[in-house]
Symmetry: C2
Subunit: 212 residues, 2 copies
C-alpha cells in the first residue's frame, strides 16, 4: 500500500491510524501542502481534489477521501473492525465521525483559511477565532452523541469516531483551543494516544515531519 | 420512518431521494432553519448538530448526518443499491459523493455564511462569490473522478454520488453558478431529475416549501 500523506494533515492521520490498527504496512509518499505539491499536475491526476490523503492499493487502484478509505480498509481487512456490525450502531458511529469530518474539518481546512486570509484579508487572529469556533461547536455536538463511561467514544475499542476525534484533537492543541470544557473528549483522546497505532500516526512521527 | 427536513436543505434532499428510490414511505416533519427551529432545545436533543436531516426509524432510533443515513438505508433496504458491491468501486462512489459532501457543502452551509456576513461583516456579494468558488472547485474535482459516457456518474443507475451531485446542482442554480463549464454534470443532473424519486424530493415539492 502506498499512502500520499502530509505529516500535519489530520485526514492523512485518520488513514495512517486505520492502516496501523489493521496491521497493514504502507509506504509514505510525502506531499508538502505548504510547498503546494498537491497542485502539481502529476499529483492532480491521482487526486483531483488536490489534497491528501491518496491511497494506492497493491493492485494499483488509486483511492481518495479519508472516510472512503476507512470504509475501504474496513471492508477489505475487517479485523479489528472500525465500525460495529449492526446498522443502528454503525449509523451512530458514522454520524459522530462525520460530525468531526463534515462540521469541523472542511471549514478549517488550509484552503479555506487561505481564502479568508489572502482573498478576504483577515488576520491570523481572526482565522484562529474562526477555527476555534467550529471546533467548539463540533466538539459539543460530538460529545452529545457518544457513550458515557466507556474507554472510547462507543464501547471498548476504537472506531472511526475515535480516529476522527483524535485527529481533530491534534488540531485543537495546535490552534490553542481550551479543551477543558470537554473532559470526556480529552479522556478518549488520551486512551487513543496510549495505543501504538495512534501514536505512530502522529504528525511528529512522520518521515516528512519538519522541526518548527 | 420520520424525517425532520427543511425544504431547501440539500442534505435533507439527499435522504429524501434515497427514501424515494428505495420505496420507503416517510412522514416529513419540517424544521424551519430560517426561523432557527433547529436550535430549539427539544430539537437539539434529537440532533445535537442543530441541523437537518434527522431520521427516526420505525423502531424509534434517532439517526443523524445525511451520508450516515444513506449508508443505513443501503444496509437495511439493499434494493436498489446506492453503492456498487465491490470495495474499489464502492470507494470510488463514496470518494465522489464526499467530494460534494466535504469539499463544497460544509463550507457553503447556512451557519458558515452567517459567520461570514454577521461576524466578519461581509456583503451578500462576497458570500455569493465564496459559494461559487467552492462549487467550481468541487465540481471540477468531482468531474475528474466519474465515468464518461454513462447515464449516471458511475454506470447505469444512480448512486450516492449522483444524489449528492443533484442536491448540489439545486444550490448551483439557486446561487447563479454558471454550470456551462460542466456539461457532463448537467447531463447527469438531467438524468436524475427525470426520475420521480429525485423530482419528488426537490425543494419546491416539499410540504414546507414557501413561495418566494
Amino acid at each position: 500500500m502506498i499512502l500520499y500523506s502530509y505529516w500535519r494533515s489530520t485526514t492523512s492521520y485518520r488513514v495512517r491510524v486505520a492502516l496501523n490498527l489493521k496491521g497493514i504496512s504502507y509506504e509514505t509518499r510525502p506531499v508538502n501542502l505548504v510547498a503546494h505539491e498537491q497542485n502539481a499536475p502529476d499529483y492532480v491526476k491521482l487526486n483531483p481534489i488536490q489534497g491528501v490523503p491518496t491511497m494506492v492499493t497493491d493492485a494499483g487502484d488509486t483511492l481518495i477521501q479519508s472516510l472512503a478509505l476507512l470504509e475501504y480498509l474496513d471492508e477489505t481487512q475487517p479485523e479489528p473492525p472500525l465500525l460495529p456490525s449492526d446498522p443502528v450502531p454503525r449509523a451512530r458511529v458514522r454520524g459522530a465521525a462525520q460530525t468531526i469530518a463534515m462540521e469541523i474539518h472542511p471549514i478549517n481546512n488550509l484552503k479555506v483559511l487561505s481564502y479568508l486570509k489572502d482573498r478576504l484579508d483577515h488576520s491570523q487572529d481572526e482565522a484562529v477565532d474562526w477555527m476555534r469556533h467550529w471546533m467548539t461547536e463540533g466538539f459539543t455536538a460530538f460529545e452529545a452523541q457518544i457513550d458515557s463511561g466507556t474507554p472510547f467514544s462507543f464501547g471498548e475499542t476504537p472506531t472511526m469516531a475515535d480516529i476522527c476525534l483524535a485527529g481533530q484533537m491534534i488540531n485543537a492543541r495546535r490552534w490553542g483551543l481550551d479543551t477543558s470544557p470537554f473532559p470526556r473528549l480529552v479522556q478518549i483522546d488520551t486512551a487513543c494516544r496510549a495505543l501504538a497505532a495512534f501514536r505512530d500516526a502522529e504528525p511528529e512521527n512522520q518521515p516528512d515531519a519538519t522541526p518548527l
